[in-house]
Symmetry: C2
Subunit: 119 residues, 2 copies
DNA sequence: TAATTATGTAATTACATGATTACAAATGAT
DNA sequence: ATCATTTGTAATCATGTAATTACATAATTA
């Protein structure tokens, strides 16, 4: 079972463009090394390594040492789990794609009414 | 079009249990006031308000003043958009639910082979 | 108008992030 | 054994988070 702390970690890991881009690279090139990955970014290798630590804590990345190199792999299971939970939680809203439009329309109506009332 | 900054904000907003719980309450009780919402939590009203600011920045929450009170509403559109993007990006992995199992199996196989090679 | 209630702002504090440079350790090649 | 390469660790710095208490503003009610 996925805990709140788990979700905190996963969302936090995803809350940085560089880390999401790292996941993109791991998806495109499974088994890439730390150095090769870092070379794709403008920031330093150390910065990339710190991002890797955060991704690993969230369970989004795994690695295996191969000689003096380290091969990196994406693990999408946490994303999968969150995706599932969202689908569960919010399906009522977007089962039909009009859900949020309806909510927005109601909010607009309330706002309009509020403006009238305050005049 | 949703930008990287947008996604940073949304994920960051979701990366805190209290904020996710706030969204749950807004979903269950649309139009709830700041004070009534804050009363449901152990932390101070100010702490809750700061969370609301972060949720609002991410576009996950909207509000409208009603007299001296403020009514709060969830807005799931950003979640919707991220959900859509994920489904797009990772559908190849979980179109069949065996995707990540296959990847995990391959990683295990590599690990096993690595151990053999190093003996 | 005065008192009460709901929300908002300011200042502060402890701690975490994200980045850097410099150095250390492990591995493979010559 | 030496040297280059790849990865990891340590120390540091500026900035951002998350929380607090104290005070200020705005809107009903008596």
């Amino acid at each position: 079972m996925i805990t709140n702390d788990d979700m905190d970690h996963v969302f936090h890991a995803l809350a940085h463009t560089t880390r999401r881009e790292i996941l993109d690279h791991l998806r495109a090139e499974p088994g890439i090394s730390v150095g090769d990955l870092a070379a794709k970014f403008d920031v330093s290798r150390i910065a990339v390594m710190n991002h890797l630590t955060i991704l690993e804590r969230a369970g989004l990345m795994t690695s295996e040492k191969q000689g003096r190199s380290r091969k990196l792999y994406i693990n999408i299971m946490p994303i999968q789990e969150i995706h599932d939970r969202w689908t569960d939680t919010y399906s009522a809203y977007w089962a039909d794609r009009l859900g949020h439009i309806k909510v927005a329309a109601e909010a607009a109506a309330r706002a309009a009414k509020g403006e009238l009332d305050n005049e």
